[in-house]
């Protein structure tokens, strides 16, 4: 925090500021508030909590900081402080309770986490070579897509193994975003233990957020875990296309297509090539790059638990992102993240009356 000179380089592209429009929602103001709060001068706890949680934690402020300071780390610490002091926003309690009670964000029976894989015995294996970490949202909400992913991996001769029953737990990101670092550590510890028991050769991720945060934290926690290669599924699928094992559907006529980098994949994990390469190989697709992309991608609005804390701000951020997409005069937006997909699909209907087709990248593949 000492490094921050309040230059405001972080503010212009901040999606929280774009949504709310007032200076107090800029990273610069959040840093200033924190300084004054630590000095005992800024005493409005409610306003402080509000501004700290009205942020998607998308980390673009870090990318833009010339001084090498990480506002994101500061905001993360602030949330931990708010949670531990009982000042976190009440809206965050249910999701944390769900995770505590059921080990997933929805509060569903975690034993049902693998139900999407029923009747997939022909394509799944138990050897653990390619262990799938499905993630709460894909497992409970996008089972159809996971089925397709499993079939594609089978076609590539890299059959997936799933973590059985309810033993895959939430990766912990929603807890960490809330500031509930103890819960995050507990989940991380249990997931590491289970995964190490299964002795995987590599772990395949279906969710960019799980991928980015397991990548960031789990390996630092456990040396044995750090030796396991972590793979995001698009890297494998691109190889499958190149090897002729997978086929893309293609469009009947020339179609302008773009890709939205999820923050956790583009900015955190810096994985941006394979999704683009896949899209570019779709027959009759003309690939168009968005103005804000890769490391400078714009958040869909759902990150940092903003979708829970302030759904209206979530929508505003998403609408602005769709606005950027429309400016590129494209007819299709492709996602690799199921949360971004859902959020931006909704925004497309609000902003674009549904004229823009918002699809998940798995939909581009032949079954």
């Amino acid at each position: 925090m000492v490094l921050c000179s309040l230059c405001s380089n972080c503010s212009a592209t901040c999606c929280s500021f774009k949504a709310f429009g007032w200076e107090s929602y800029t990273p610069r103001a959040r840093v200033a508030m924190t300084r004054y709060r630590l000095a005992g001068v800024f005493t409005n706890d409610a306003a402080y909590a509000d501004r700290m949680y009205d942020c998607t934690m998308c980390k673009e402020c870090d990318v833009n900081c010339s001084a090498g300071f990480s506002p994101w780390e500061l905001f993360r610490s602030a949330r931990i402080d708010l949670w531990s002091s009982g000042n976190a926003l009440p809206a965050l309690k249910p999701v944390n309770d769900n995770i505590i009670e059921s080990s997933n964000v929805f509060g569903f029976n975690n034993d049902a986490r693998g139900s999407w894989a029923e009747a997939l015995d022909d394509v799944l294996v138990n050897d653990g070579k390619n262990l799938l970490f499905a993630g709460c949202i894909p497992a409970f909400k996008n089972g159809g897509a996971l089925k397709k992913l499993a079939r594609l991996y089978h076609a590539m001769d890299k059959p997936l193994t799933i973590i059985p029953g309810g033993e895959e737990l939430c990766c912990g990101l929603p807890a960490l975003d809330s500031g509930n670092v103890d819960l995050f550590n507990e989940l991380m510890g249990k997931n590491i233990q289970k995964i190490l028991e299964m002795k995987p050769e590599r772990i395949v991720f279906a969710c960019p957020s799980c991928y980015a945060f397991v990548n960031e934290y789990y390996g630092k926690e456990n040396e044995d875990f750090s030796r396991i290669p972590l793979v995001f599924y698009t890297d494998d699928l691109l190889e499958g296309i190149t090897a002729g094992q997978l086929a893309l559907k293609g469009f009947d006529e020339q179609t302008r297509v773009t890709y939205h980098d999820p923050c956790h994949l583009g900015r955190f994990a810096k994985l941006w090539d394979s999704p683009r390469e896949i899209i570019k190989q779709v027959p009759n697709a003309s690939y168009v790059e968005l103005m804000n992309c890769k490391e400078h991608t714009a958040c869909c609005g759902s990150g940092g638990q903003l979708m829970i804390v302030s759904p209206s701000a979530n929508n505003k951020v998403a609408d602005k992102r769709i606005g950027e997409v429309r400016e590129r005069n494209v007819t299709m937006l492709v996602n690799t993240c199921f949360t971004c997909q859902n959020t931006l699909e909704g925004a497309a209907f609000r902003v674009d009356s549904g004229d823009l087709e918002v699809v998940h990248i798995l939909d581009l593949f032949e079954d």
Binding site: C7, S8, E23, A29, A32, A39, N44
Partner: protein
């Protein structure tokens, strides 16, 4: 402002702008109390206009209530230009962010003041054009702020400052009248050149609601060189030699040993190690143009000069290498925050300008001054040497009386040297309120003429009072730059 008056004023503004665009919430007042300078001054109210009519309404209400108005873009001023110093209305223009027209055939764009510089140039890039003035803060500033401040940066040596690119402004005057300062013609000799009067007027004459800018074809080729010199004056001599060669570089930047060391540590950029040895200095030079052959030819001449005068010369071999060098240079002001060690930079000497031919002798004189024990002060020296703009980043702790005393002595000596060289106290950061201490010494009767213009256009003095005409004073009434400081900046009272 008392509560009754505040409530009444806020209601008037809400009636015309809607409650979603007006606030006196203490949290927002706090947040708008900052800019990129070291000063802190919260407004009474913040208003966010959506269009010109909103601005007319705000001005009319302010005039009727005799309340000061301060315009603000991204709030990146280094001179307390974008702070409401007198408990007034801060007008945040960032909602007025439409690019109204890009007319390549007319070589111009028409935009609202809240458009970000970066966004405009991203759009222009698609057509192969650009708006050239590129301040170090180019990634996060608005065009309105650039016009209000007459901003410029590294490329001013070839492309000039913002004023060279403004062909028309729509402004709302203090009486609510809307006026255009120019035309849509690329040149005009009709009447006074009001474009130049309003560019750099820092919101003291009116509020800008629309900007028409000339644009230029973007250069297709660039070459970047970095050279290290045995001394600061040797670097200055080489800069003058480059300018005398007939080649106009697109950027020619200068950094002393301290600045180079800071860049190396902060940016992990590959710089010649000799550059941060004590006493050494470096030049970053860029040439650009439409063809590789033309740029190559200019590059060869520059290279020959550098090889003759420098102790080490490098040419960036790849675009990435070049981008890394310029990125590091861009970040220098922010990087310098790391060496503040509890100290503030003295704004009076932060942004001086001198005729380029006098750079070697002036830098030599100042270096010799700073070497004397009674004037010794940690100062990083860098800047846009191609146009004579040098930044002296001094470090003074306002809580240490001896340090303040020495700082003032150093500052006044440097200002004397600059003014004796027919220089200016603000080449690109603007004057605002923070840089007025010695302004009268520089401007002479021009300051009086400015007052008369101000009086004619803003008789109620509601437009950004404080800028240009008010000298900051401390609680004892003594002129001082250590006033309205943000106490919780690193190194401030509270840190």
């Amino acid at each position: 402002m008392d509560k009754t008056r505040l409530a009444s004023l806020e209601q008037e503004l809400v009636d015309v702008l809607g409650s979603e665009n007006v606030t006196s919430n203490p949290v927002e007042r706090f947040a708008y109390g900052f800019e990129s300078s070291f000063h802190f001054s919260p407004p009474a109210i913040v208003a966010r206009p959506r269009n010109r009519d909103d601005v007319v309404n705000i001005v009319t209400i302010a005039a009727r209530n005799e309340i000061p108005l301060t315009a603000r873009g991204a709030g990146t001023s280094l001179s307390a230009q974008s702070l409401s110093l007198h408990d007034g209305i801060l007008v945040d223009f960032r909602q007025m962010n439409k690019i109204k027209a890009i007319n390549i055939g007319d070589q111009q764009v028409i935009i609202e003041p809240g458009v970000y510089y970066r966004e405009l140039n991203k759009k222009l890039e698609e057509a192969g054009f650009f708006f050239p003035p590129e301040p170090g803060s180019s990634d996060f500033i608005t065009i309105g702020g650039m016009v209000g401040n007459n901003a410029s940066g590294m490329h001013a040596v070839k492309y000039g400052a913002t004023k060279n690119w403004v062909i028309d402004l729509e402004v709302v005057l203090a009486n609510g009248q809307v006026m255009h300062t120019g035309s849509k013609s690329l040149k005009s000799s009709s009447g006074y050149c009001l474009n130049e009067l309003f560019v750099g007027s820092e919101g003291t004459l009116g509020l800008i609601t629309e900007v028409t800018l000339k644009i230029a074809p973007a250069p297709k080729c660039k070459e970047t060189f970095i050279a290290v010199f045995p001394s600061i004056e040797a670097a200055g001599e080489c800069a003058v030699a480059v300018l005398k060669s007939g080649i106009v570089p697109s950027a020619m930047e200068f950094c002393d040993d301290l600045s180079m060391g800071m860049m190396k540590d902060a940016m992990k950029v590959d710089l010649p190690p000799v550059a941060y040895e004590p006493g050494k200095a470096a030049l970053f030079i860029e040439v650009d143009g439409a063809t590789a052959a033309g740029v190559d030819a200019e590059g060869r001449i520059i290279m020959a000069l550098l090889q003759e005068m420098a102790i080490e010369v490098r040419e960036a071999r790849t675009e990435q290498e070049s981008a890394d060098l310029w990125h590091a240079r861009h970040a220098l002001l922010t990087i310098l925050s790391k060496v503040r060690e509890g100290r503030y930079m003295m704004s009076q000497i932060m942004d001086i300008g001198i005729p380029t031919s006098k750079i070697p002798s002036v830098l030599k004189e100042i270096k010799e001054l700073l070497a004397q024990p009674e004037y010794f002060l940690s100062i990083a020296i860098y800047g846009h040497i191609g146009d004579g703009n040098v930044h002296f980043a001094s470090m003074v702790n306002p809580n240490l009386a001896l340090e303040v005393e020495k700082g003032i002595k150093v500052r006044d000596k440097i200002v004397d040297i600059i003014l004796a060289a027919n220089g200016t106290l603000s080449a690109e950061h603007g004057t605002g309120w923070a840089r007025t201490l010695r302004l009268a010494d520089e401007l002479g009767y021009k300051l009086e003429a400015m007052k008369q213009i101000k009086q004619a256009l803003d008789p109620g003095n509601i437009m950004n009072p404080g800028a240009f005409f008010e000298v900051p004073v401390d609680e004892t009434g003594r002129p001082s730059e250590f006033v309205k400081l943000d106490p919780y900046m690193p190194g401030g009272d509270g840190a």
